[in-house]
């Protein structure tokens, strides 16, 4: 058997672990949109538990493995989902990235801390480099020769488990209702909830599965890796490479890529001897592949920039305060700090800690520029600082004057920043983050290993900075110098935000396409941001090194950037204040812990669990304080305003609306045009009358509903009711609030005031999926199908057995295996409504069902509605084009400016009324 075949077989076996880990990563990302950097940490925890159960408590390996993988890991996944991921999914990209990075720090620390605490009393082995975890197989492992390659029992088991996991995962996703729901939620989350699928439960399931896979990978890998949490993080990066090759979507491709990586690593180790001279190049192979994969495979079509519209800046909660009051806390803090510093002796320990904190604060200011303002998450910041410090040291020892060396260092970092910005031009979001991570690791593993540049492990000596009258060996001088520099950076950032470039940045960030069409150069803006940020980080790095007296390649490791980012974002990354606070906390907090004799693990846990806070308050602690103050006053205001709108809705109706004296509320418009009410009755009476007459028969009712998006109120007191076997057409001009009414009715949008009633039961607080399960079905605007699922799977989301649909609609039967996205528009609309025919809902709300359909097809759609009416379904039909809706409707409601301005039987609708409603001349 040739050497090459041996490498390939053996590589496939070891690639299995990457494959399992990467599959979990892809699964949870695809299902929830959160890229879990802590996936490796979950694996580490499972491995730690496995080790303690097996070696510590003496359980047999299979039992310990079973507990760690099938009990502990799913539980951990569920707990993380509840505590964090659920909130993170809505929190915007920066918070997602930072939150899970925080977990990468916190989870291993938590596990090790617990082991530290219980090791002594329970007599457990400690989990350090001396611990020797065993594998799942026989112990010691038995050697087996397969196809001429000698493998041990642990390796074989790994491969077998990986294949079983892959097969099980495939069967679960394809052939169980849970898998179908999960895929439906992935495909169109909002639609899934409208079909009665609890998307939250699907996410929980995804996290449970993902976590189980991470746990399995951890337990399988631990005999080779040892209990080294860094090694698990490294394994995560390798797995991320596989996941990227699967484009973070396809689990089979991810799995294959994982296996391939194992082979590639073996081939590189076996044959790439030419790389021996470049230290670290071979270690960095997965990182290089990761970077290549990101650049080549993820030229994202939909999201071009490092920017996400949902990541819009929060409102300025302190805008109503006078300038002096806004600045007061900072001025007081600064004065106190300076006063305290200058009264301490020159060799005071705490002053040097504060100085250290301020150096970090200066470096952290670079996060404010690139992440806070630019909206791009950069994990290479520590490498920029390191780069600048090493360049400065190299230049200084080459005989250049120190000031020149400093400038060279800062310029060096800036240049690298521009280089990093180049991939950023076409990558966005997580992909950009991963790319910066790959570059940071590449710098650590290859560039900083170049002896000529970093002077080996010795590093470079740097002098203190002299100011003429004093020098920075005195920490007090450092504090003052740093405060001045941070102040300058603060001014710079403020000016940047207010300048034309600041507006350009904001434009590129929130709407890249729009910015480009308006002539704002996105690439230039981004390059400038990266250059500026890396320059600031570089200056911080040089000062860090100068104050420390020396710099080596390992002083500011890439992984330090993780902790930094977590700390800054936790304080608030949009303001310099957050950076300053973050720097001080990062330096002072560990000292305090040490003084109180608290384990360093606790510090890591606290820094890391900041992610949980981010899940709820994505803009950090500082913004949170301002927001809390704002909210207290705001809550009162909001309630008052909603009540005001409701009252206004009532009183406005009192005046006779033009085009008829009918009123907004449920004028008792009997089915099939048996109009009853006194058209001249004032609104107050009409509402009561509505309650008496229309309310009696109504299956579904909206009562004086006020709702909107953020600060914008769209519905301003909507009353509407539908009875069983009745079609109500809701008509109105564009922007009248029709779709918002639908969303409120289906539970897709919460109400600010008012009630939603289903058969007399108040369902206002029910989430969309619960309303759907109780029979309120919304066919949303556009097509209500899951484009990524097949026709059959689409039907199964609402029907246990889709066969009756095929009998009624043979053209769907022919295409049952085709993805719904490939159907024509008409077929898609039929597919949306077909399930309702077989299993009729109690209430069907159709939002623009004929939009974009050929007239013949639209006709068929309206036939379906007629049939449903015959079967007693209450139908609310929203149409912009009135004609066909009017033909079908029993009752008609006109909407304008967030209110129902007229309701009545179809027979009373005439040209004047229509025109009035559409042209908005009603008021």
């Amino acid at each position: 058997m040739s050497e090459l075949v041996g490498y390939i077989v053996s590589g496939l076996v070891t690639g299995a672990v990457f494959a399992v880990m990467a599959s979990g990563l892809t699964l949870s990302y695809a299902a929830t949109g959160v890229f879990n950097f802590a996936h490796g940490a979950v694996g580490f925890l499972a491995a730690l538990l496995f080790f303690e159960l097996n070696v510590g408590f003496g359980l047999p390996a299979w039992l310990a493995g079973l507990i760690a993988v099938t009990v502990f890991s799913p539980l951990l996944g569920y707990v993380l989902h509840r505590a964090m991921f659920r909130g993170l999914a809505q929190a915007g990209e920066t918070a997602q990235i930072v939150g899970t990075i925080g977990l990468t720090i916190a989870l291993p620390a938590l596990g090790l801390w617990i082991v530290d605490l219980v090791a002594e009393p329970l007599g457990l082995p400690r989990a350090d480099a001396t611990s020797l975890p065993r594998g799942l197989g026989p112990y010691p492992p038995v050697n087996v020769t397969v196809a001429g390659v000698t493998l041990d029992s642990d390796q074989l088991l790994t491969f077998v488990f990986a294949v079983l996991a892959a097969a099980g995962l495939w069967a679960f996703m394809r052939h169980t209702p849970y898998g179908l729901r999960m895929r439906a939620s992935v495909d169109r989350r909002r639609l899934a909830t409208l079909r009665g699928i609890d998307a939250d439960a699907s996410s929980a399931m995804a996290w449970i599965l993902g976590s189980t896979l991470a746990g399995l990978a951890g337990v399988l890998a631990v005999p080779t890796l040892g209990l080294d949490s860094t090694a698990f993080t490294v394994m995560l990066f390798v797995s991320a490479t596989a996941a990227v090759f699967g484009r973070l979507r396809s689990i089979p491709v991810t799995f294959a890529a994982g296996l391939g990586l194992g082979v590639v690593q073996n081939l590189v180790a076996g044959y790439a001897d030419f790389a021996e001279d470049v230290t670290g190049l071979r270690t960095a192979v997965p990182v290089i592949l990761l970077f290549a994969g990101l650049i080549l495979l993820n030229r994202s079509g939909e999201r071009v920039a490092g920017s996400a519209a949902e990541d819009a800046p929060p409102p300025d909660y302190l805008a109503d305060l006078p300038m002096w009051r806004r600045r007061l806390p900072w001025v007081v803090g600064l004065t106190l700090l300076l006063g305290w510093t200058l009264t301490r002796p020159a060799d005071d320990f705490y002053v040097s800690v504060v100085a250290q904190g301020l150096v970090l604060a200066l470096i952290f200011c670079s996060f404010v520029v690139v992440t806070g303002i630019g909206g791009m998450v950069n994990l290479a910041q520590a490498s920029f600082a390191s780069m600048a410090a090493l360049t400065c040291g190299w230049a200084f020892s080459a005989g250049l004057p120190f000031p020149v060396a400093i400038v060279l260092g800062v310029l060096g970092a800036t240049a690298v920043g521009v280089l990093v910005a180049l991939p950023a031009l076409r990558l966005g979001g997580r992909i950009l983050t991963l790319a910066t991570l790959a570059l940071a690791l590449l710098a650590d593993q290859v560039l900083f290993q170049v002896d000529a540049f970093s002077n080996g492990t010795i590093g470079w000596q740097l002098p203190a900075i002299g100011l003429g009258f004093a020098d920075t060996t005195d920490p007090r001088v450092r504090v003052v110098l740093l405060l001045a520099l941070i102040g300058l950076v603060g001014l710079l950032v403020r000016n940047l935000e207010r300048s034309a470039s600041g507006r350009a940045i904001l434009a590129v960030r929130s709407a890249p396409a729009a910015a480009t069409t308006s002539g704002v150069s996105a690439p230039r803006t981004k390059i400038m941001l990266f250059a500026l940020a890396s320059g600031i980080a570089g200056l911080g790095g040089v000062l860090f090194a100068s104050f420390k007296g020396s710099v080596t390649a390992t002083d500011l490791p890439a992984l330090a950037g993780f902790v930094w980012l977590a700390v800054v974002v936790l304080q608030g990354v949009r303001r310099i204040g957050g950076a300053v606070l973050g720097g001080l906390i990062a330096a002072i907090f560990p000292e305090l812990l040490a003084t109180w004799h608290v384990s360093a693990h606790v510090g890591a846990i606290l820094f890391g669990t900041g992610g949980m806070i981010l899940a709820k308050h994505p803009d950090g602690v500082l913004a949170q304080m301002a927001e809390a103050r704002y909210r207290r006053r705001r809550r009162r205001l909001e309630r008052a305003r909603a009540a005001e709108i409701q009252a206004e809705a009532a009183s406005n109706g009192a005046g006779p609306p033009p085009g008829g004296r009918d009123t907004a509320a449920g004028v008792p418009a009997g089915a099939r045009g048996t109009a009853a009410a006194d058209a001249a009755s004032p609104v107050g009476a009409a509402v009561e009358a509505g309650e008496d007459s229309a309310g009696r028969g109504a299956l579904f009712r909206l009562e004086n509903v006020v709702a909107g998006y953020g600060d914008v109120t769209v519905l301003r007191g909507v009353d509407l009711s539908v009875r069983p076997g009745e079609v109500v057409a809701l008509l109105g001009a564009n922007g009248a609030g029709k779709s918002t009414t639908c969303a409120v009715a289906a539970g897709d949008l919460p109400v600010t005031a008012g009630r939603v009633l289903l058969d007399g039961v108040d369902v206002t607080s029910w989430p969309a999926h619960r309303r759907a399960r109780e029979g309120v079905l919304l066919a949303p605007e556009g097509r209500g199908v899951f484009p990524g699922l097949t026709v059959e799977e689409n039907l199964r989301t609402w029907l246990p057995d889709p066969d009756p649909v095929y009998e009624r609609m043979p053209q769907l039967a022919e295409r049952r295996r085709i993805a719904a996205g490939a159907l024509s528009g008409g077929e898609q609309q039929l597919l949306t409504l077909a399930p309702a025919l077989i299993r009729p809902p109690r209430v069907l709300i159709a939002d623009e069902p004929s939009l974009g359909l050929a007239p013949l097809v639209a006709e068929r759609v309206f036939e379906v509605f007629a049939e449903l009416r015959e079967r007693g379904v209450a139908l609310l039909l929203v149409e912009e084009k009135a004609t066909s809706a009017l033909e079908l409707a029993d009752r008609v409601a006109f909407m304008s400016l967030g209110r129902v301005i007229w309701t009545g039987p179809r027979t009373e609708v005439d040209e004047t009324r229509l025109t009035a409603a559409y042209l908005g001349v009603s008021r």
Partner: protein, 418 residues
């Protein structure tokens, strides 16, 4: 960029330049100043250490604290040094993080006001520049270049990271040659990881074996530095064919981390390797507790840089008794020995400095042709050993599940590092 912003960028750059100053020379701050020597009273000398107690990789040197405490307790039991007892405040944890090590050193000097740092033992210790600038003595295991060439950093067995041209050890090769009854015609393969630190180790150690007459048939630095490779096959294949298609007589591993070594040795044995194995880190009693590890390491010749605990030298008996007194039942480890011997040398310098104790006088004594021999660690001479290793080491062999002394501590002449 707006014009104002441009102006501000310029301003910041100018400020940086101004900050750098026209005269960027560094003032020597000096240690003591007025008001007596920090950490020294008429009856006590305060010392504390910096160790890597916890780290992300699990590497821990925390046992050095027990070793140092045991040695200090004995000195205190004997009445202290010149009437002063050692007040040992314990050791800080640097988490294997250079910046934290720097902060820990500052804390000990500025807040706890210690006289000296003993023991200092962390692969990534970052406080060297500060201590050197403040003139504070520090004692420990000088594995990194930050120790070397200083006047305040005292490695208990010298500087283990000599610069090219300075002396480099030959004891490992020579001891091995003596153990095998000659090096004539024997081949050695050196395995390191893919990092500049490990490559440097590979260079000094292959030189040690060459100086002793071995033929080095390969130095491989292909192992990934970050984590053990999941698959050892490619590395093992290289070793098994390195001696003209045959396996070498001896494989020396310059990899820290039991996981690495266990993986390498198991894979070699799986591939049918029957030669000798040697490394610097496998001398660890904890290893024996695990059956599979003990099996993988069976026959390995470890190379500790202190007299093995199995030795019958009286110094070792004393060490065991001292440790038993402060921490009964402690398992003796490499790190414990390093802490113990670092403290021992520190006490010797204190004793020679005399009653009148300042940091300047202490350093003057230590750096003024100080020489001290002890069977526990061989010999030490400062200032020479600020720049090169002391050249002493021992060999132990794992046989039938227990460590046996193969060669007692012995010193050899260094050769200049190429």
């Amino acid at each position: 960029m707006g014009r104002q912003a441009v102006r501000l960028v310029g301003l910041v750059a100018a400020a940086a330049l101004a900050a750098a100053g026209c005269a960027a020379e560094q003032k020597a701050a000096g240690g003591g100043g007025s008001g007596g020597t920090p950490g020294v009273t008429a009856t006590a000398i305060r010392v504390g250490g910096v160790l890597t107690k916890t780290s992300a990789s699990g590497y821990s040197t925390k046992d050095a604290e027990i070793g140092a405490r045991a040695r200090f307790e004995r000195a205190n039991g004997a009445g202290g040094v010149h009437g002063r007892k050692i007040e040992f405040v314990g050791a800080e944890d640097d988490n294997q993080d250079a910046a934290k090590g720097d902060a820990a050193a500052k804390k000990l000097v500025q807040k706890d006001k210690v006289f000296a740092l003993v023991p200092v033992h962390g692969p990534n210790f970052g406080g060297a520049a500060f201590l050197e600038q403040q003139g504070v003595p520090w004692f420990g295991w000088a594995t990194g270049p930050q120790w070397c060439g200083t006047r305040t950093g005292f490695g208990y067995n010298g500087c283990l990271a000599p610069k090219p041209g300075a002396g480099s050890q030959t004891w490992w090769g020579n001891q091995m040659a003596e153990l095998l009854g000659g090096s004539e015609g024997r081949t050695v393969y050196v395995q390191t990881t893919d990092s500049s630190g490990s490559k440097y180790g590979g260079k000094t150690i292959s030189q040690s074996f060459e100086a002793a007459g071995f033929k080095v048939v390969g130095i491989n630095s292909g192992l990934p530095a970050a984590a053990p490779p999941p698959d050892w096959l490619p590395y093992v294949n290289k070793i098994m064919t390195s001696d003209g298609g045959k396996a070498p007589d001896l494989v020396v591993s310059i990899i820290a981390g039991t996981k690495f070594n266990v993986g390498l040795y198991s894979a070699l044995k799986k591939a049918g390797y029957e030669g000798l194995l040697s490394d610097a880190t496998s001398y660890d009693a904890a290893i024996l507790k695990d059956q599979a590890t003990a099996q993988a390491l069976e026959g390995v010749i470890a190379a500790p840089m202190f007299e093995p605990f199995e030795s019958d030298a009286p110094e070792i008996a004393q060490l065991k008794a001292d440790v038993e007194k402060v921490a009964p039942g402690t398992v003796l480890t490499q790190h414990l020995a390093i802490g113990y011997w670092s403290a021992d040398i520190f006490l010797k310098v204190l004793e020679q400095t005399g009653k009148d104790l300042t940091r300047e006088r202490f350093l003057a004594t230590a750096n003024g042709s100080f020489a001290y021999e002890n069977a526990g660690f061989g010999r030490i001479q400062y200032p020479r050993d600020h720049n090169e290793p002391n050249g002493c080491g021992a060999l132990v062999k794992l046989e039938g599940g227990t460590f046996k002394v193969a060669k007692n501590m012995k010193c050899f002449d260094n050769v200049p590092l190429k």
